[in-house]
Symmetry: none
Subunit: 143 residues, 2 copies
């Protein structure tokens, strides 16, 4: 399980270091792809395979399904940590997440997400999550 929130910076060459707490669980190779809500998703290989399989099963005849599959697969690239624990973010997906310099990496269970700091703050303050909503979600889940 990936959990937690970390503020990291992107260097002038477009590289970012992955929080050390995430590295072991990520393994050597993993997939970075365009995510939902203007962020990037990072999946360990194992989780990626599961997602791939789900995507494969989507009906090719459905317009939305085709768009969804294109979105995920075209934006995906396999990455590897360099020997200082960094990765290079490909330009096309970097733009998708509006990554400049200040970023936030969050652990979200089966995946990691990379946000620009600005986007993350905005997402959080957009109050699409009021306390009441959180509370009722928690109640639903029996937390």
């Amino acid at each position: 399980m990936f959990i937690g929130e970390y503020n990291h910076t992107i260097d002038v060459k477009g590289r970012i270091s992955i929080p050390s707490k995430f590295r072991e669980e990520l393994g050597e190779h993993f997939i970075v792809t365009k995510g939902l809500d203007n962020c990037l998703f990072i999946y360990p290989m194992e989780e990626w395979r599961i997602l791939e399989n789900k995507l494969k099963q989507l009906p090719l005849t459905n317009k939305d399904a085709r768009a969804f599959v294109r979105f995920f697969l075209s934006g995906a690239s396999e990455c590897e940590l360099d020997n200082q624990g960094r990765i290079r973010i490909p330009n096309n997906i970097r733009e998708h997440a509006k990554l400049e310099k200040e970023t936030v990496l969050i652990g979200v269970g089966t995946r990691i997400e990379i946000w620009s700091q600005e986007q993350w703050q905005q997402y959080n303050s957009d109050a699409n999550l009021s306390y009441d909503e959180i509370a009722s979600k928690m109640a639903e889940l029996g937390i």
Copy 2:
């Protein structure tokens, strides 16, 4: 059952010692998360596992579910007592609870909560639950 109230301080490195009375029941590893009402929740590992599994099952395609999972998991951190019975509170979580130096730890049955002293005092006076109100709530709940 966690019960009682303790005043502890956070040191300059962001560490706080867990009341000795809580330690045995907590075990070695546990999870600290952003809680409701500007405090932090501490869950024993067993409880946490159950939550994890529920969270994993929420659909990626549902916007509200994504927001909730992000809130909950990015605000979580696995902790371990050091050999003096302390834990470190990550900064993002710490800000959520407005923890400065003086804090209050309270036992609330299945979990422990960490409050800033200020917030706790305010909560107690704001909520100014009269005894009558408490009594009638209890009756409602069939206690």
